[in-house]
Amino acid sequence: MKKIWLIILLLLTTGCYDFKELNSLAIIEGIGIDYQDGEYVVTFEILNDKKLENTNVDMARKTTLVTTKDKKFVKAFEDAIKATPKDAYFYQLKLLLITEDLASHGIEDIADFLLRLHKINKSLYMVMVDNCTIPEILSLDIDNEPVLSSAILDLISKNPKLTPVNTNDSFDLMINKILKKGSDIAIPSVKILDNSISLSNIKLFHNFKYVGSLSEKETNTYFLLKDTVYDIYYEDNANTIAIYNNKVDYNYDKDILTITFKANASIKTIDEKYDLKDRNTYLELSKIYSKLIKDDILKLLEKAKENNSDFLALGNLIYNKTPKDYYEGCSFDKKIIVKVNINVNRNGLVYEVIK
């Protein structure tokens, strides 16, 4: 009798009630959201599992796109799910592409919906597309890149000049940054260049809206302050150095914000007037680049103020340290002291300047 109960229980409790075959799933790798003429345009990039047998077609495209639009985002999203040929499966979702139009309109609606939906993997990454539409970028035909969402993510996470995408940059943690007092976000963007995908400028937000973008130089400075970098190049006429082992310290005390930046640098190219065996060369270069980087940091802070975007979260620092000093935009009103100390201490493998 016990064996019968055991067999019945084992048969009934294997969790097959919700079972789905893998080939009945439409695995969605990336979602794109645009906002045109008052309507949300939702695009899904779905893995294509169809085998092309007995054809001469070289099957480079392994994804299909589904695009729908509606005045309400939820309706557009649901229509896109209905338009997918199989059961939409979002647990492999890694990328959220948005356009400047949507970002200017505001992303709070999509944030609310995506965070609430249980079937979405919250660790997706948000990237903006620059100067093109989402279907255009997702339908590019690139050699060795059959899935464009993965290609975009690889571009961001494996680019040595760009801080690697880490868990602190995922969509839900980005929303947390927006919700925190005195903190805004800056997200990477991509564009089409020569029929391939390329990195574009960092896009700035204030609350849930897009407000501006950083130039390439400002982007480099931003990464110096944001995270540990490996070999960000700085040029000054004939000299080039690469920054590494950077460390930033932010402090707020008695109405003064202090940013202390320290880094090591190695020489990549150098003017022939310098003697690499002379200690003073390194001191002089350290002084030159310390000033250069300090000026760049001050310009970056000016840019933040212009766009009213506290992407360095200085306001949040003030709020955490002294809540009574905090108000919206307070970091732009406080006196900021920037201290930079670059230590040029490596010269590569060559000890002489090649003339």
Partner: protein
Amino acid sequence: MITKRQYKFLSFILTRGLFLGTGISVMLNNSGPDTLIASILGIILGFILVTIYYQIYQKKDTLTLNILNKIILFFLIVIILNDGIFSLTTLISSFYLIKTPPLLIASFITIVIFIATQKGLNTLARVTEILLPYIILLILIKTLSFFPMIKLDNFFPIFQENTINILKSILIMAALTATPQVLLLNIPKEKLNFKEYTIGYILGSISILLLIIPIIGVFGFPLAKIYRFPEYMILKKLNLINFLEHLENIFSTSWIIDIFVLGGVCAYIFRNKIMPSKNSKYLTFIFLSIMTILAVFVNTHYPIVLFLYNYTYLILLFLTFIYLLSIILKKK
């Protein structure tokens, strides 16, 4: 009679059992970034409660119950069991088996609890002993994986919340960790000294703290506050050796075990203490069936969920207090 070691393990699990779904989320909504401080103070308050249980255990006969004891204990068991089954059913139907009817999920939970009751307390204690290393391993892996992701900024600023809200969180922590321990007064066990009696509670509370710290430290308070199950959502951030992802379902099995053990202890006390008779097997089955239906009913009526979400801790504290009073005033 269970051994000292089995008692410590049961105590550890009972400390954690009620936290799923109702503990951390409520505390975050009340006390915000001060949740960590409130948790630590709540553990201290809970420890004082457990000390009171120990004094009662030493000086009073807690194994023989009169009618009043049984009535209060019955209500306590109903609240604890309903909370446990409801939380687990909601978790499973929200994240694992979305299309499976909640009644089916709740039924299988109670079937396992019923079978555990039939096997007796020693079997339940032995199963807890066997499963505990697995739970501890999951806790250790989780803790070590989350610590590099924690940002200290997310814990500040402190003492910005209303004192009343912080006090509420302290009471919630004390209620959810310490009140299930009162059930262990009613089970036969080897003689325990103070350290043996309280160690399970201390370690169980530390394991809850090891969950609260990464939730606030990784998510930050604004995001952690908006999630219904932040303790589950944080597991989605687990990424072992940059290779293994989507481990949340494996790591959340520890809560399933916690609630089964909690349910088993509640059902044991119902069968052997509240309704001890030759028909106790059938009465236990009926009781668990009613609890299943009640949990599913609560699941489908959100106003009741909100009421329990906000006031379970007060009900538990009140019932525990009057139960202890009834034991102390019980005539020999």
